[in-house]
Point group: C2
Chain length 354, copies 2
Amino acid sequence: MKFEAVTIKDIAKALGLSTSTVSRALRDSYEISPETKKLVLEYAEKINYHPNPIALSLKERRSRSIGVIVCEIANSFFSQTINGIESIAYNNGYNVIIAQSRESFEREVLNLQNLTSRSIDGLIISVSTETTDFSYLKELHQKGFPIVFFDRIVDEIDTHKVIADNYKGAYEATVHLINAGYRRIAAISNPALLSITRERLAGYKAALTDHGIEVNDSLIKYCQHGGMIVSEVEEAVKELFSLPQRPDAIFASADKLTTGCLRILKARGLSVPGDIGLIGFSNTDLTELLDPPLSIIKQPAFEMGEVATNLLLQLIESKRPVTQFETKVLSTELLIRGSTKKKTTKKVSESVGQ
Amino acid sequence: MKFEAVTIKDIAKALGLSTSTVSRALRDSYEISPETKKLVLEYAEKINYHPNPIALSLKERRSRSIGVIVCEIANSFFSQTINGIESIAYNNGYNVIIAQSRESFEREVLNLQNLTSRSIDGLIISVSTETTDFSYLKELHQKGFPIVFFDRIVDEIDTHKVIADNYKGAYEATVHLINAGYRRIAAISNPALLSITRERLAGYKAALTDHGIEVNDSLIKYCQHGGMIVSEVEEAVKELFSLPQRPDAIFASADKLTTGCLRILKARGLSVPGDIGLIGFSNTDLTELLDPPLSIIKQPAFEMGEVATNLLLQLIESKRPVTQFETKVLSTELLIRGSTKKKTTKKVSESVGQ
DNA sequence: TTGTATGCGTTATCAG
DNA sequence: CTGATAACGCATACAA
């Protein structure tokens, strides 16, 4: 037995009115007599009437819901972002539909197709590590569909974007490592084409260069699946450790890579920063209580979600086509915990060099 | 300029056919000639036609989306659960709409009202710490609306439920503390009425009793907002520490309380388990790398999400009303890290055996 | 002030 | 094999 939904028709029938009268009464239209209004409203209340949002959507050609696609919900950075998104959406009467790409392009496109075609009014997305073909998104955008990118953005599509100051965050973190005495600083990152990878590696490289350290490409490793596959991080670390000159520190350019590295180093019995320096982007909980304490670059995830959603709603609700788009860049936070000074004792001895 | 959606009507007009013919051709109906089918299909492909899911929903009286209400997305346990939910939903062509109660009853009800009334086909929910009035959910359930509870369930509503073996998890953890030498074991938990609180405290108490330790109610603290407000956990710890006889260990009965306690103890300069024992439910990342290493009771969050979703879909898609409901109880995992033996010496000194 | 008719996009029923 | 029509629930332009 299906739960029978109460409709305007039911009210109309029960009260001997027409559906339009009921509809107008419910919407408190000025052209309905106070008595009728009262009658309708009270009866609606009594039988617990709620308008069918789907019928409304069909009529108004809007669903009052927004889609969110991220690689993984169970990643602190993204779940914090979604928290911010939900927060703004809730305040504005929008639902949030989430989908995960799991760093798969195919899945991303399927989710996109599923969500689009009018079941959502707009999209907030951080593209997957695998995504290099943006034609689907581009088409969507050209049709006038509201899209806001965050975190992993797409340069070639001109719309609102929200990112952290990746360049600066990476720069500062690398400088911090340099100041702590490290010289052979490796980088473990996502695929090279990803916006965050480019921005963060640029900051990393600039910091090295500005301090007279030559950029060494063999010290830069890319994880094609963004650390979704543990073994690829292991592989990256392994490769770094089998170099003729081992790196004395690692800069990890994404949440999953940072914690991944940490686990692997720990498993190898290495202490941070005792045996090897480590700093990375991370929004993971409890990093401040880690053993060893971990210094991180933290993104304002919640705020990023809020900002992205506000921009999206602006796009959705604007009457005329928006042509002026903005890219919001939010500051990262460099959290230094414990001493990151490089140990100068035997163990790692003079790796130095420069 | 709004992105004009392609409809069946457009295809019909362009091809000089009726909408019904087009509709049938698209659905590959047997009563359409191969040529017409081919014509329609090719044209549809060409202009990138996609059926409007909202119109479909209206017609079929189903939205192919499920609602999820949890207190907080950015909580590892819940984000892992949502991961599992999304996983199954995706495989079955369902969308996932998430909403957060933020442990507020008001918000929970508002979200419920918003989601229900036919914009979702079913609901997966873990109620807020504030919720004591289940009438809204009960009404919904009586109307035949598919609901699956997980984690924080509602006993008085008879439907599918998915929980971890809270009793056993708590029992084992408490036994572990006892075996490690602790005797005055405090408990910090959510509000007393919450299902998980009852189950976990029951396990905790049974463990004490079974080992000849009297249950001391002054050692049991309740956090009304489930640790959403940091100060309430602080207050609980403070009260425990101002007791004439300080507890020598704490059992924290929820994710947020476990990490909350840990932070507070750390801030007080106490080491775990050196100065005070601590074990709690937790699905937070990196607990194994903490300083001090933290032993936890881990719930199979992802699996819980999967199971809950499968049950919900079963409910949604069953032709006749379901009357036989089941409660799935999944095993927790007790993860012992480092030595949890109680220190018997003065300061911290020799950290003892094993 | 209220009722009638129409349309949002789709499919099902009934004619042809 | 194909087309016209009604219906899903609602809102609104147009009548009355």
